[in-house]
């Protein structure tokens, strides 16, 4: 397995180099912003990756919380299925279709995303049973925070030369990202400083609260800026298809990179728990069962 990891790392490295080269040298120069706009090829994929990782954490946290109560498990499963079906059906209703076309999105795209939600939920439960859900949650939270930090650093570095300001509190995307970052940093701090045997449940509860908060953050800032007009950092609207192509390439590269980092972090967490359990057994004074070769199931390294 180690060789497989090494091969993937090399391939990912090459992909990242190629994608960065495309972003820096091949992509067309933006008319109004100039070459600085190329930060966009790092900023946006990092944001999408961070949000994806936080979303996985959210789904894993819900499943982990629901584990203890079968009724909650069934309820959560059916809520996700309901959201998937409702989303798929709604995307073909006329008023929704109109809104989507104004964003440049096709109804089939939204329908597919909606259907993927319950599929994702069910697959996650199957691939990561029991404690693995919690390990997945902490992995995605940590790596998500790293990518989110990149977003928050590249954002102002892009804003300053182009719009003359480092930060605009009314900028929806950057401020929402900041709040998300704060929530997940507090999540990681809770995990580190909590002495409780139920730390994992507490952290899962925090993740769910955080997820409920995000849409509220978005709408509160959205209304705030209608009363206090602020510059929109990052621009919006249509994108040159050549730029889109390179953007997606960079996203693919960062996704591969994120997967490898998560894979490593996951293995680290599994190892850490094995060592902790070994120490615990040792302190119980049982020389036969204590030791590194624990009956704990090793995940594929």
């Amino acid at each position: 397995m180690k060789r497989g990891f090494l091969i993937c790392s090399v391939l990912t490295g090459l992909l990242l180099v190629y994608a960065s080269y495309q972003a820096l040298a091949v992509a067309p120069t933006e008319r109004t912003m100039g070459d600085v706009q190329r930060i966009f090829y790092y900023h946006v994929p990092s944001a999408w990756t961070a949000f994806l990782l936080f979303f996985i954490n959210f789904v894993a946290s819900i499943q982990y919380l629901a584990r203890t109560k079968p009724s909650a498990q069934i309820a959560a499963k059916w809520i996700f299925i309901a959201i998937g079906v409702a989303g798929a059906v709604a995307s073909f209703l006329p008023p929704v279709q109109q809104q989507l076309t104004s964003f440049g999105m096709r109804p089939s795209a939204l329908a597919t995303t909606a259907i993927m939600l319950p599929v994702f939920y069910l697959l996650l439960g199957r691939w990561f049973p029991g404690e693995k859900l919690d390990i997945l949650a902490v992995t995605c939270a940590e790596v998500g925070v790293v990518f989110c930090t990149v977003v928050l650093v590249t954002g102002p570095l892009w804003a300053r030369p182009v719009w003359g300001i480092w930060w605009a509190p009314g900028d929806i995307r950057l401020t929402s990202t900041l709040v998300l970052w704060l929530i997940y940093v507090s999540y990681l701090l809770l995990r580190r400083f909590s002495n409780s045997a139920q730390t994992q449940m507490l952290a899962a509860a925090l993740a769910v609260s955080g997820a409920l908060d995000v849409p509220l953050v978005y709408f509160s800032i959205w209304f705030f800026r209608t009363q206090h007009p602020q510059p929109v950092i990052g621009g919006n609207g249509s994108i040159d298809p050549r730029m889109l192509h390179i953007l997606l390439l960079n996203w693919l590269a960062f996704l591969c990179f994120a997967s490898l980092v998560c894979w490593s972090r996951f293995r680290l967490e599994v190892l850490k728990r094995e060592v902790e359990e070994a120490y615990a057994m040792e302190s119980l004074g049982d020389p036969v069962t204590a030791g590194p070769s624990m009956p704990l199931k090793r995940s594929a390294p």
């Binding site: 919380l65 709040v179 704060l182 929530i183 940093v185 507090s186 701090l189 809770l190 400083f193 909590s194 002495n195 409780s196 045997a197 139920q198 730390t199 449940m201 507490l202 509860a205 925090l206 769910v208 609260s209 955080g210 409920l212 908060d213 509220l216 953050v217 709408f219 509160s220 800032i221 209304f223 705030f224 009363q227």
Partner: protein
């Protein structure tokens, strides 16, 4: 295990009465909260030009920062008292519904913070020469809904940080990020009413939505938190 509504209310009322009586006798939390807020008011009055119109724009934020930090003082000792005499363990073992305890704590903290706000408001008006340009009555729903948002989050996270190594630090760290939409609503709403520039209706609706969503979510999650060892 279905809890009869009567039992939920009676347990809640009993716990609430106990907390209020205890606080009334010692006035620990109330005194520290008052002192802290007074300190903030006086210190920031030095950065104000009392005749300037711009002061009105900043006061909204200042007032709520003062109340937010003062509320954290009260919230920190919410559960500490229960831990001291193993009251919390007794509660976990008893058949009393967990949400009764949670609601009682929220209501107790809510009353303390509202009392603080009522006492501090005249001081703010005096020190910052406040003259409200918008509809004054709107400040009441903003204050009530905003305080509920702070207190509901604070009580929940105070319970969560009970078993952490640095409890007093953990509470604000957990509380502030999640409270941001509510704080934005409170601050922007108060500023809107003080300056009279914008209508505050949306912020009131935002605070109401926030309160409903999170109160419901926490009522569902509290039992998990209570049973954490």
């Amino acid at each position: 295990m279905k809890e009869a509504p009567a039992s939920l209310w009676s347990v809640m009322a009993a716990t609430l009465k106990k907390d209020i009586r205890l606080e009334w006798r010692s006035k620990d939390a109330l005194n520290s909260m008052l002192f802290f807020s007074l300190l903030v008011v006086v210190i920031f009055s030095f950065s104000f030009d009392p005749l300037a119109e711009e002061s009105r724009r900043i006061v909204g934020g200042l007032v709520w920062v003062a109340f937010l930090f003062a509320a954290v003082v009260a919230l920190n000792q919410t559960w500490a008292r229960e831990l001291r005499n193993q009251v919390l363990d007794a509660y976990r073992v008893s058949p009393a519904p967990a949400n009764a305890l949670f609601l009682a704590k929220i209501l107790g903290n809510f009353i303390f913070v509202i009392v603080l706000e009522a006492l501090m408001t005249p001081l703010f008006v005096i020190f910052y020469n406040l003259h409200v340009l918008g509809p004054v009555w709107q400040l009441l729903p903003i204050a009530l809904l905003g305080t509920w948002a702070l207190v509901v989050n604070g009580t929940f996270f105070a319970a969560m940080s009970l078993r952490t190594r640095n409890r007093e630090l953990m509470l604000p760290l957990l509380l502030f990020p999640i409270s941001i939409p509510a704080v934005l609503g409170m601050v922007a709403g108060t500023t809107a009413v003080l300056t009279g520039d914008n209508p505050a209706h949306f912020y009131i609706v935002l605070l109401l939505t926030y309160d409903v969503v999170f109160t419901t979510a926490y009522l569902g999650l509290f039992e998990t938190i209570l049973h954490a060892e």
